[in-house]
């Protein structure tokens, strides 16, 4: 009797990996992180492996570190494994060569993902594993959740038997994150698959002083070559070892696999060859076509390396006349992708031996999880049937540049798909739609004989992310590894009314299907509240429309704003997938399982929500159609913006509205370069409440602007005359500052459709109404339709007002800096993000001259994830120029920017001096000697450069043109190196340290969330003692690295710890000081994060507590002060006055430890208290010590003689 599990591919693979290993070295990278997280969680629960011990989980500082640790563990006799993807896998490469060269048995599980090229992508393809072909590792590909589990075990058995390391890979997201019902591999099976004799043989080969050997020698030309050839027999026998493992597995479980699995007509003439999850879709399509008499088949490659040509030929039907090989990777410049060429070579060799040579064509599909559907499979077969098929092709895109793409019939559906039940749910990231759907799949998978599949599509935003859940149910195993297609969904749910404006969600609905809408509108008014296109679709398709006010029900049930249980109940009540009563009982059982004895109250609240949901669910009568109408083309709602650039209209907004798949190749920039300032066109309208300015209470302090994570509240002073055409509700009052001429007006304006409703501005407001302390100078108000329209108009007017003369504004005060236009706006960061205010502030102060190197992480995702680009330009078209290289090399990347800027400035200076007689000696002197430390100096230099360019334009000789081409570099660049603590403390620390050790003028901003935020909260070396984080489930036992103090030890580095929520004036001062310092500057910025387990409306409070408790002391170290003979250390906070317990207990990351490991929590609390006191004492001692002259700073390029400047 089989046991069934409902889980995703990552968990399925991790289960086997955990059981079969003793040491697991991990490092987070999407989409493989979950495998390591599962292993860590099981280890924290003391779950044993096959040999009764708990595997040791060790997080390293990078994949390179994990690879090294693995190599050491394996060569010393342990069974070890890891999980990775993409760039992480590339960091394994050097060790993979070593591990294979030393014939080391181990399995590396890879959720295969695109390698960053013109852009980073977290989605699935085989470009990463293809980079491993030369390493000598075996490459084994599974194509489904079931196979991810089964092959993980078979790989372990084969590696022990065959001694080659195995890279077991499956498609990132499509398999790693697909939830499916699978047959479990039981412990007995694992036991039977793993041969302890081979395990002992592995241990016997371990390095041991009891029988010492030498490994890792250095070899010379005389023997290296022969040594490489010595391993050939192992590669010849490994396919046999793999097949033997498959055969043994088949005997034990009944699930039989071959190295090359062929399915289709025995006399197939046209055969598709591919590997990975696409094989499932191909199987489904082949079954459909073969049932209609077509002689087609699919050959799925399981063991890709070592390549076994004989097994391939044996699997390929003899009648095959045409072969299409599909690769999920791109090797630019090659005359075919890797699998295609392997197949071609094998067939050519066989043809030379007398076998008939079929025609072989090769195509690319599915890069970065691009959809691969039955229609596309059919298109490939159709191409094969042509007299002259394209030898090289792509499928899944419209290529109007190289014209390689195949056309496909978007209406083609397989019989298997038509026999399934489909449901699509549109939700907001944080509204629990995805988790509720995972729960629903489990309910159906575990309580019925039905098979179930769930796949979840996320957008790139963190605040207000849109999720689409695609669920399938059916009596047979589900092979549809593609999204639910148009007109196929029996059930569509819209969990957020606002989505009706943005997405064509009813395109999925099948005629006669059910549409469930969460809307606050009363049932009798719902119909007329729907967009016209939606009404027409409902009528044309004959849909049933059901509505519920889920937020209203949640409030009534005491559930706050959590609607997932309510919407899940509605789904079961009206979808008909399960009998209603059975489904409701199952939901309640799931609730009890979740909350049970932990909280009777929450169980009761959820039960009440379930009951209320059923009471408040209404079917809406659909009015008869007034006339027969064709389905309307779905058109997104207007954004309220009148001037939309062509690029935004044609590229950005279609991507935003979910139609990026339809963009042709020609629409894409050639080299991955995109324009700035497109985030402002999204108008996501995700806030339920927005701040409203009370102009009468306001003292114009600017704090609300400073703390806004999304630049959605702004300040402007302007001449009174400009207010003549203001909209009627536009608020403005006399500017209070004496810095401005009499009559100057002041306005604080909210961007209503860009605000995320985080409340941080309200929390920051220091003003209280004298008669009612709860009222501030900004107050949250529900974002009604009327308020939205009025403030939209006001904001448009506000944006049209010119920025006040920047030279007349005090940049060094909070109210003054608030008046500077942000050149970073409306990013996709979380509501209340603690990082983004720092970036926005930097762009306000220096944005028109910034070059930004951004490490991969949260800041690169909200900073540069398409389609929105939050970095923007000022009225002159200037703004931050931004790029992301990698996670690990950001400091070096930024240093390169500095070197280029310095070198080109130097070149321009030399040219200018050489042409002094032609362009004017005074101008050249001024250009070369300009003091550009502040904005006034830079503006003056811009004017000089303009004059220079004018004069050069009149000169015709080549040197003039050359100088003109580099003249802009005469204007000082402000180079910023930005990243999170994962980069700065861990993977990039070596580079960071090196850049700090050099004298170059770079500004390094470390956004310290004390955890890997982007990948989901894994421990970094910035994680404080006692904090619970992923990979530190029992609380981090060691202290946080003191990055600032380490950097200050160089003496020539400007260093500061800042926390704007605790002391905003210090933050502002630090940014000015750091930027003006002509050497390396390091700002370590405390950045509260949702990963701390605090709602981000308390972001500022938490910063305050962090400083008051001594967790985050504020200080500055300015070498310039040291140069004057004074002490460069300056403490900017008082001694800890708040017990660190109070701070730690206010955040779930600490507080949960006292629930799970109370004794440890107490121990860590005591240690944290002591560390805070000692750290403050140490800082105080440094700040009060007699000054000693530090190493003199030098920003000059050591290669550039001083006299040149």
């Amino acid at each position: 009797m089989s046991t069934f599990l409902t889980l995703d591919g990552n968990e399925a693979a991790a289960r086997m990996a955990y059981l079969c290993n003793e040491i697991i070295a991990i490092y987070p990278i999407t989409p493989s992180s979950n495998m390591g997280e599962w292993a860590d969680e099981w280890a924290s629960q003391k779950r044993p492996n096959l040999w009764g011990t708990v595997p040791r989980i060790i997080e390293m500082q990078s994949e390179g570190g994990a690879a090294g640790a693995l190599h050491g563990a394996l060569t010393s006799g342990a069974l070890a494994t890891s999980f990775t993807a993409s760039q992480g896998l590339l960091l394994y490469l050097p060790n993979l060569y070593k591990l294979a060269g030393e014939l080391t048995p181990f399995v590396l599980h890879v959720a295969a993902r695109a390698v960053a090229t013109h852009a980073l992508s977290i989605f699935g393809d085989h470009s990463d594993v293809m980079a491993c072909r030369p390493t000598g590792c075996a490459l084994l590909c599974s194509g489904s959740v079931q196979e991810a589990q089964d092959f993980a075990l078979a790989a372990q058995a084969a590696t022990l038997a065959g001694r080659l390391p195995v890279i077991h890979f499956f498609d990132g997201f499509r398999t790693s994150h697909e939830v499916a019902k699978i047959e479990a591999v039981e412990l007995d099976t694992v036991r039977a698959m793993i041969d302890d004799g081979q395990v002992m043989a592995h241990r016997a080969r371990a390095l041991s002083p009891e029988h010492p050997v030498l490994r890792g020698t250095s070899q010379n030309p005389d023997v290296f070559f022969q040594s490489r050839e010595r391993v050939n027999p192992v590669y010849e026998t490994f396919p046999g070892a793999m097949q033997a493992a498959f055969d043994r597995f088949g005997e034990l479980t009944g699930r039989r696999y071959r190295l090359f699995d062929y399915v289709g007509a025995a006399d197939a003439e046209r055969v598709l060859v591919l590997m990975g999850s696409g094989g499932q879709t191909a199987l489904e399509t082949v079954a459909h076509l073969a049932a209609r008499g077509e002689q087609v088949g699919v050959l799925r490659v399981r063991l890709y390396r070592p390549w076994s040509g004989a097994d391939f030929l044996a699997a390929l039907p003899a009648a095959t006349r045409d072969v299409a090989v599909l690769d999920r990777t791109k090797e630019p410049g090659a005359d075919g992708e890797p699998l295609y060429k392997d197949v071609l070579a094998t067939l050519a060799q066989a043809a030379a031996d007398g076998r008939a040579m079929p025609r072989v064509i090769g195509g690319r599909y599915g890069l970065a999880s691009k959809e691969f559907t039955p229609a596309m499979v059919k298109a490939v077969f159709d191409e094969l049937a042509k007299p002259l098929p394209r030898r090289q092709f792509t499928v899944g895109i419209l290529d109007d540049v190289s014209h390689l793409s195949l056309d496909w019939d978007p209406d083609f559906r397989t019989e298997a798909a038509r026999n399934l039940q489909h449901a699509v749910f549109w939700g907001l990231g944080a509204d629990g739609t995805v988790s509720a759907n995972k729960n629903s799949i489990k309910i159906i998978g575990e309580t019925t004989p039905l098979h179930a599949q769930g796949y979840f599509v996320y957008d790139s935003k963190k605040s207000g992310a849109v999720t689409a859940s695609h669920l399938r149910f059916g009596p047979e195993p589900i092979r549809s590894t593609y999204l639910i297609e148009a007109d196929m969904a029996d059930f569509v749910a819209c969990h957020q009314t606002i989505f009706l404006e943005r997405y064509d969600m009813l395109a999925h609905a099948r005629p006669g299907g059910v549409f469930l809408l969460n809307t606050p509108d009363p049932a009798e008014r719902v119909w007329h509240s729907l967009p016209e296109a939606t009404r027409v679709q409902i009528q044309t398709k004959g849909l049933q429309l059901w509505v519920i006010d889920a937020y209203g029900v949640a409030a009534e049930a005491g559930m706050g704003r959590r609607i997932n249980t309510i919407m899940q109940t509605c789904f079961f009540a009206i979808s008909g997938i399960l009998p209603r009563e059975q489904a409701i009982t199952a939901i309640k059982q799931a609730v009890e399982k979740t909350y049970g004895r932990k909280s009777k109250r929450l169980t009761e609240l959820n039960f009440r929500a379930i009951d209320l949901a059923l009471e408040h669910l209404h079917e809406i009568a659909i009015p008869a159609q007034a006339e027969t109408r064709e389905a309307m083309a779905w058109i997104p709602a207007p954004t309220g913006l009148t001037e939309i650039p062509g690029f935004v209209r044609d590229i950005t907004l279609p991507i935003h509205y979910g139609r990026g798949d339809l963009l042709p190749v020609s629409a894409m920039p050639l080299d991955g370069t995109w324009p700035l300032g497109t985030a402002r066109y999204e108008k996501r309208n995700i806030a339920l409440e927005i701040p409203v300015w009370d102009e009468n209470l306001c003292t114009q302090c600017g704090k609300c602007v400073l703390v806004c994570p999304h630049s959605a509240i702004r300040a402007r002073v302007f001449d009174a005359g400009l207010s003549r055409d203001a909209p009627p509700t536009f608020k403005h009052v006399p500017a209070r500052s004496k810095d401005f001429p009499a009559g100057t007006r002041m306005s604080y304006q909210v961007a209503p459709e860009d605000c995320t409703g985080c409340r941080d501005c309200v929390e920051a407001c220091p003003i209280h109404d004298k008669s009612n302390v709860s009222r501030r100078a900004v107050n949250m108000a529900p974002l009604t339709h009327e308020l939205r329209l009025a403030e939209r108009e006001n904001f448009a007017f506000f944006l049209a007002l010119p920025e006040f003369d920047r030279e007349a504004v005090k940049h060094t005060t909070i109210p003054g800096s608030a008046l500077l236009d942000p050149l970073f706006e409306f990013s996709g960061a979380c509501a209340g993000c603690g990082e983004t205010p720092y970036i926005r502030l930097a762009t306000q102060l220096f944005g028109d001259r910034m070059l930004i190197a951004n490490a991969t992480g949260c800041s690169s995702i909200y900073g540069g994830n398409l389609p929105a680009t939050p970095y923007t330009t000022n009225a002159e078209g200037r703004g931050p120029a931004w790029s992301n290289s990698l996670f690990e090399d950001n400091a070096e990347f930024g240093l390169g920017m500095r070197l280029a800027a310095d070198k080109l400035m130097d070149h321009a200076r030399r040219l200018a001096k050489a042409m002094a007689s032609e362009i004017g000696g005074d101008l050249v002197t001024e250009l070369v000697e300009a003091d550009q430390r502040d904005e006034a100096g830079i503006r003056a230099q811009r004017r000089r450069v303009a004059v220079l360019l004018d004069r050069l334009a009149a000169l015709k000789h080549p040197r003039a043109r050359e100088l003109a081409s580099v003249a802009e570099w005469l204007i000082r660049r402000s180079v910023w190196i930005i990243g999170g603590d994962g980069w700065a403390y861990d993977i990039g620390y070596g580079g960071l340290d090196h850049v700090l050790a050099l004298p170059y003028d770079v500004n390094i901003l470390v956004l310290d969330t004390e955890v890997y935020s982007n990948t989901g909260g894994q421990t970094s070396k910035a994680t404080p003692i006692g904090a619970v984080a992923k990979f530190s489930a029992g609380g981090k036992p060691t202290a946080k690295k003191d990055l600032g103090r380490l950097a200050s030890s160089y003496g020539h580095v400007y260093v500061a710890n800042v926390a704007y929520g605790a002391k905003d004036t210090q933050t502002l001062r630090v940014f000015h000081e750091a930027e003006s310092y002509e050497g390396p500057s390091l700002i370590v910025a405390y950045s509260p994060c949702i990963a701390h387990g605090v709602d981000m409306q308390y972001n500022l409070r938490q910063q305050g507590m962090a400083v008051q408790s001594g967790h985050w002391p504020l200080f500055r170290f300015d070498p310039r002060v040291g140069e004057t003979g004074a002490n460069p250390w300056k403490l900017d906070c008082t001694a800890p006055g708040l017990p660190i317990r109070d701070f730690m207990q206010s955040e779930t990351r600490f507080a949960m430890l006292s629930r799970s490991h109370p004794e440890d929590a107490e121990r860590f609390l005591a240690a944290a208290q002591q560390a805070a006191e000692e750290r403050f004492a140490a800082y105080k001692a440094l700040a009060e010590a007699p000054p000693t002259r530090m190493a003199p700073p030098s920003a000059s390029d050591p290669e550039t003689p001083r006299s040149d400047t």
Binding site: S44, Y458, T1015, A1033
Partner: protein
């Protein structure tokens, strides 16, 4: 030898001094020290309904539903498989105390809603509690709620708990009942075995700098014992319920006065938190010394000897008392004006 024994909820105690709910019972060491210092029983720290709810809400918000719905991060904190609830920890501590202490252990529930208390009571009984103290912490701030509704809430909780728990139950009350003796009678009818007078509410304070309200719990002062003396004296002899005095006991004097007024046991917490378990020994010795000096043979003899019923002028504890206090500021009859 003076007989200090007393009866509390049907439990025979060696003396009337019982530490009330405080953090001292969170740690086995301090509980053992209290027993060594002479405590006759121990009321455990309160299992706060709000604390359990807040803990569950935290887990729900950040562990169960902590996702952003972003492709790279399902959630931000590790799985919560080993996350134990406050209830689990409380039960574990109760078991540990019962294993090591010889004196009775009273579990204390502090809450306001019926949610989960009945099941909770059963679990506490199974874990070995000798009695339950039910502290219905309810600030009657709702203008639509008549006093009767407030009383009904207490009675309803008690009745529900009574049906599933065979342990003696003591109701810890606030001083804000309009007709305390009548209410106590109703509690008796509903199955309570005792009342503890009175609980002390958290008193919100205002921070003049931030203009924010801050919750504070200040330690009791000895003058707070006077309110307890009054009502214990009034209730003694009018109810069969055990009377526990709680609040304001800092030295032997308050303890003795409360016993004279009619308390069966005298609770203390603030003085123990301030001075440690040794203070309990000091009070016990002071009580013994006083009784010996006054030639009392037993606490039973002492208890209630100055209750309202036994006072020569019972009105001194009623409104007339107010007049007498005023009178005390008038000139003595022998003084010439």
């Amino acid at each position: 030898m003076t007989d200090l024994s007393t009866d509390y909820l049907g439990l025979g105690l060696r003396n009337p001094l019982v530490p009330s709910a405080s953090p001292l019972s969170r740690h086995l060491d301090s509980a053992l020290r209290l027993e060594d210092a002479g405590a006759a029983a121990l009321v455990m720290y309160s299992l706060f309904e709000e604390e359990l709810d807040a803990e569950a809400a935290m887990a729900d918000r950040f562990l169960v539903n902590g996702h952003l719905g972003h492709g790279e991060a399902d959630g931000f904190l590790p799985g919560h498989g080993d996350f134990t609830s406050g209830l689990d920890r409380y039960l574990e501590q109760l078991r540990r105390l019962k294993e090591r202490l010889e004196i009775p252990v009273v579990a204390s529930l502090n809450g306001v809603s019926p949610s989960g208390w009945v099941e909770l009571g059963k679990e506490l009984q199974q874990a070995g509690a000798d009695a339950l103290e039910l502290n219905v912490y309810h600030v009657a701030a709702d203008g639509d709620q008549p006093a009767e509704t407030v009383e009904t809430r207490y009675l309803g909780l008690l009745t529900a708990l009574r049906q599933t728990v065979s342990l003696p139950i003591v109701m810890k009350l606030s001083p804000y009942f309009s007709s305390l003796p009548h209410f106590v009678r109703q509690l008796e009818q509903a199955g309570a075995r005792g009342v503890a007078l009175f609980n002390r509410f958290f008193q919100p304070d205002i921070d003049l700098e931030s203009l924010r309200v801050e919750n504070r719990l200040t330690l009791s002062r000895s003058d707070e014992a006077l309110l307890r003396i009054t009502w214990i004296a009034i209730l003694h002899g009018r109810t069969r319920l055990t009377l526990a005095a709680t609040g304001g006991v800092h030295g032997p004097q308050e303890a003795i006065k409360l016993l004279l007024a009619g308390a069966d046991v005298v609770h203390m917490a603030s003085c123990l938190l301030q001075h440690g378990p040794q203070r309990l020994t000091d009070i016990l010795r002071g009580l013994e010394r006083w009784m010996m000096e006054k030639e009392y043979d037993s606490v039973a003899q002492l208890k209630g000897s100055m209750s309202q019923q036994h006072l020569p002028d019972p009105t001194v504890l009623a409104r007339a008392n107010y007049l007498h206090v005023l009178d005390s500021y008038s000139f003595a009859s022998g003084v010439r004006c």
